[in-house]
Subunit: 310 residues, 2 copies
Amino acid sequence: MNELELIDKIKKLLPQNESVIAGIGEDCAVIDFKNSDYWLLFKTDAIVEGIHFTSGTEPEKVGHKAIVRCLSDIAAMGGKPTSALITIGLPKDFSPEYVEGIYNGMSKVANRYSVVIVGGETTTNPERILISVAMLGIVEKDKCVFRSGTKPGDAIFVTGELGGSIEGKHLEFEPRIKEAQWLVNNFKPSAMIDLSDGLASDLRHITIEQGLGAELLASAIPISDSAKRRSRSNSSSKPALTAALTDGEDFELLFTINPKVAVDLLDKWKKTFPDLKLSCIGKVMDVVGFKIRTKNGIFDVTEYGYIHFA
Amino acid sequence: MNELELIDKIKKLLPQNESVIAGIGEDCAVIDFKNSDYWLLFKTDAIVEGIHFTSGTEPEKVGHKAIVRCLSDIAAMGGKPTSALITIGLPKDFSPEYVEGIYNGMSKVANRYSVVIVGGETTTNPERILISVAMLGIVEKDKCVFRSGTKPGDAIFVTGELGGSIEGKHLEFEPRIKEAQWLVNNFKPSAMIDLSDGLASDLRHITIEQGLGAELLASAIPISDSAKRRSRSNSSSKPALTAALTDGEDFELLFTINPKVAVDLLDKWKKTFPDLKLSCIGKVMDVVGFKIRTKNGIFDVTEYGYIHFA
């Protein structure tokens, strides 16, 4: 049984009720909390030493990463983060300076996004550091963006540049909170998600899983310098386009929107966020499946993001 | 640096703001969420294989324990639990049946207390299972009970029987949600806490840390049969009273209340909860410190719960 099969099994065991607007399968759980204007956003995310960071990673960056992963999910729903609880599992021989560095990193980025760390706990995890962040946010009901609103013909947009995050961005990225806030207030997307598993994987959640498809334009996909550099570094590396499609931890916003507003959106975006690229990379199709158009023809993209000849 | 020193250091690093009614140092964080009648309660708690349960523990009990620890904290604030996110760290070779058993245990107790499990994630923790539960609850503002309301002269009460939880109760206890609800609606305590670290330790939070003291009556302390049995089992075991004072994971309610209502409270409690003992075990003193009166005299109780001659 793999993790996805396990999650599928678990889903069927769990109780639901009417206060839950959205649960498993969204970036955050969305909860009706007896407030007429807002819903609550509720998210947890864990990072583990040796998997999401190494024992040599600067502690401030570890703390930063632990917090911003949750912030990225709050952003993708159109919400604002408010408060967090931190659970940290530590080996018995932990270094107090290292742990203090982690909290310094968390505190700095929490302050920047007005998130209050309201508590948490330390526990023992003998072999490695594990940090689990529980985050709350709020979202105006009419600004909340789900994964399920995509329509055939919608334009597909992505912020920033993709691929090669492992070279450093995965520890240092800024969550797209203010950009997402601007979007929901000015050009509300039909669906939105943050890129954590890679474009080819995450695009499925807002297209194929909704009974739709997508056609991407290879030349429009913004490839990061890291992905390009890595592809050139040796002959067994992924081609840069494949990296942009399949590398994880980009933490950019991927969204769909009515194509009629696409030009106006790109124009106003450039004026508002001159330092962050916004790219229209393709369109939503009414046939389930996922294709990419390159100068050599149209290719299928599999669920693992690899490209095969059609 | 020990864990308490670390927490103290961390506290100073963390940002605060006016939406936080209570943060570190309460059973749950209490958050003002733009609702005129309710506050939000927010709590996380983690359990780790080899520390809070063994690899031989029945998985349903592991799941039960993971959930009820958080519920016990929600109860101690006078709140009602609403929803939870589950983070589970698993070794690569996890047993799907075991993990399903854990979720079955969680699901069963969540249903019983009307808690919706709204999502979460699975991650890798190579050497052992780690489960972190993030729990939300609500509390009517005027029913919320903090640790800080104790007054000199207040009577000290505890539910159930104490000590020896390791024999099985720590995996099977029921959180005192309905008892706490009844209390805040009928005899609102001046302060309340759930017993997780042991009476001698947790009583400090609502007395000594508030600049007050306590005098306990040894003969009034309800000692569990497990604690008595363990103390008789061999000569190096803790005496049963010491076990009741210092064993962790009792998960009973400890509260203080105006002594004028004590008799009426005991009387009505017996009619409402005939199967759960409620004991008046002492009183709050206006001198910082912690003493216990036995048939042999009055003794000091140290912060680690051990009794020394005064």
